[in-house]
Amino acid sequence: MEDDAIGSAMRRYVTRRLAQAVGVLWAAYTVSFFVLYYLPGDPVAAMFGGGLDSTTVSPAQIAELRHRYGFDKPVFVQYIDYLGKAVRGDFGNSVSTGRSVTATLAGALPQTFALAGLALLLSVVIGGALAVSASYTRRRWLRQVLLSLPSLGMSLPTFWVGLMLIELLSFRIGLFPAFGDGGLRGLVLPAVTLAVPPGALVAQVLAKSLLAALDEPYVQTAQSKGASRLRIHLRHTLRNASLPTLTVVGLIGGQLLANAVVVETVFSREGMGRVTANAVTTQDIPLVQGVVVFGALVFVLLNLIIDLTYPLLDPRIIATPGSRGAIAGVGA
């Protein structure tokens, strides 16, 4: 009976999260639509003013383009048209290459996915290890040193870190290739570069929550049972402290995608980042919108996964209102 209650609470929780995810995606699409198409005033002029000399485009051609992109209709109708296509996965065609936005992004995705995936792994593993050692050690100076590393990592400009790694490890020592897409060896430097800021963030948040958790009364209870410091870390503080860190990991996904723009430029790699940089340079509005909505999609999906992981780590997330403990047991 109780399992039933928890099951239905879980279902409600999942349904609510899914609905929220769809809502956020829709809103992200809407915001990007109005920012990109209407903030500049005239989208056609913005799209073609940058790429073509305005004298070569006659008013008739502009009117033709306007009609082709549907900008001669009322704003609301345009929005509904575009949204309807977007729901079916059609974000229009790139202005500069003429290829469909979806296909362009899909083609660039694997490269960036490998890069961002490795960077995520590196940042969680290294950042996590740093935080746990800072919390575990009893040497004050060591803790101070370890705790100061994250704020250093977050202060370094990503593009600069990449360039310095190239200068030191490629040009001077020749350990890794400086540019290009070749194999796993070529992936190392970009992934490390990309992992620095999020790794620092993970380390900072986890260390802070671990140290805060050490001051919690339940740790004292564990100590009074005779538990060792290692046991306290593994059984008690790590699990409690991992919740805020998990939230941060949700934010990192989007950050990685965005920073890939910089890293792929620095290392001259092909991928989503380069596509984005080129799209912004050529003011390719449909492509930029595709990237923005894709960024939001990554964020939403990652957070959906994390929200569904929460209840496994913290039973309080799904507090079943019918749970008898709180009411029946008063004054036991």
Partner: protein, 313 residues
């Protein structure tokens, strides 16, 4: 009659009793209003224990000087150089070396502070004003207004900051100010969230209800209790955002969306230096190091302010 007398007796006896019964009072209240000398001494001791903070403040002051009076720090012209003097490594004559046209790199970094700082200030101001206003309105209004505003903020949060900035740049076009606004808009969400959280915390604080139950009107409570007590963490966030804004602005100018080439801007300097990475490392390393040091310094100051604020509460 008797009651009256004994009552008065109690009133005169009480203050004598209280300090005895409340030993907490005395040690805390003794050194509350120190003299000027004591205050200077305390400041010296404070910074002596925190050399990093002192260094950070010095560095930030230098950057501000460089932005407003670059001539004080460097006598050379950042735009003109001697082509025969190109690609000199750092030396006493050229602290940061020279670039492909023989221009003094140090002077270019000093003069670049102006554009970078301007962009950063605009970005932080946009984020602070728009974000705090959104948060304040959401926190005070409650109900559907709060729901609507905070959902909007959620959407801003769901688009990765740099991508949002890039979208704004696509729409607005290139240039330092436009890049700055784009960066500012991207961090509006964080300010709105913190401001709202603080307003909610303070709004439900007992002393606010106490003021309301005294008969104070809402605008009086807002001005006297809610704003002063909630603005602190937002100001700390602003100092923290300063470092983040420097990084974002320089990233965008590194990608080539900032000031057009001849103007010395920090991100642009690194982007230019990148072309000579193999033969002139200083053109990349030193401007980049300047950015990193400035960000580190502002973050250190933000952390100190945060600590002070936390202690005040």
């Amino acid at each position: 009659m008797i009651n009256e007398l004994t009552g008065q007796a109690a009133a005169t006896v009480d203050p004598v009793v209280d300090p005895v019964a409340d030993p907490v009072v005395d040690p805390v209240t003794v050194d509350i209003q120190p003299g000027l000398g004591a205050r200077v001494y305390r400041a010296i001791r404070f910074f002596a224990h925190r050399p990093g903070l002192l260094l950070s403040i010095v560095l930030v002051v230098l950057v501000i000087v460089a932005a407003f009076w670059p001539g004080w720090l460097s006598g050379r012209d950042p735009l003109r150089g001697d082509p025969s003097d190109s690609f000199r490594a750092p030396s006493a004559a050229h602290w940061f070396g020279t670039d492909a046209l023989g221009r003094d790199e140090y002077s270019r970094v000093v003069h670049g502070a102006q554009l970078s700082l301007k962009a950063t200030l605009i970005a932080v101001a946009v984020a602070f004003v728009v974000g705090a206003l959104l948060g304040l309105v959401a926190g005070c209004a409650g109900r559907w207004v709060e729901g609507l505003l905070m959902r909007f903020v959620d959407v801003l949060l769901s688009i990765p900051g740099l991508l949002l900035s890039l979208a704004m740049v696509t729409a607005l076009g290139y240039g330092t100010v436009k890049v700055a606004i784009a960066v500012g808009i991207a961090s509006v969400a964080a300010f709105a969230r913190v401001m709202r959280a603080e307003v909610l915390r303070v709004r439900h604080a007992t002393y606010v209800e106490a003021s309301r139950s005294c008969g104070a009107r809402w605008y009086f409570v807002l001005r006297r209790h809610v704003l002063p007590n909630s603005i602190g963490p937002v100001l700390v966030l602003a100092t923290l955002d300063f470092g983040a804004a420097i990084l974002s602005v320089s990233s965008l100018s590194f990608l080539g969306y900032g000031a057009p080439p001849p103007a010395p801007e920090w991100g642009t300097l690194v982007a230019t230096g990148r072309n000579y990475l193999a033969n002139a490392w200083w053109l990349t390393a030193l401007p980049g190091l300047t950015i990193a040091a400035t960000v580190l310094a502002t973050n250190r100051i933000a952390r100190a302010l945060d600590g002070e604020w936390a202690r005040q509460r």
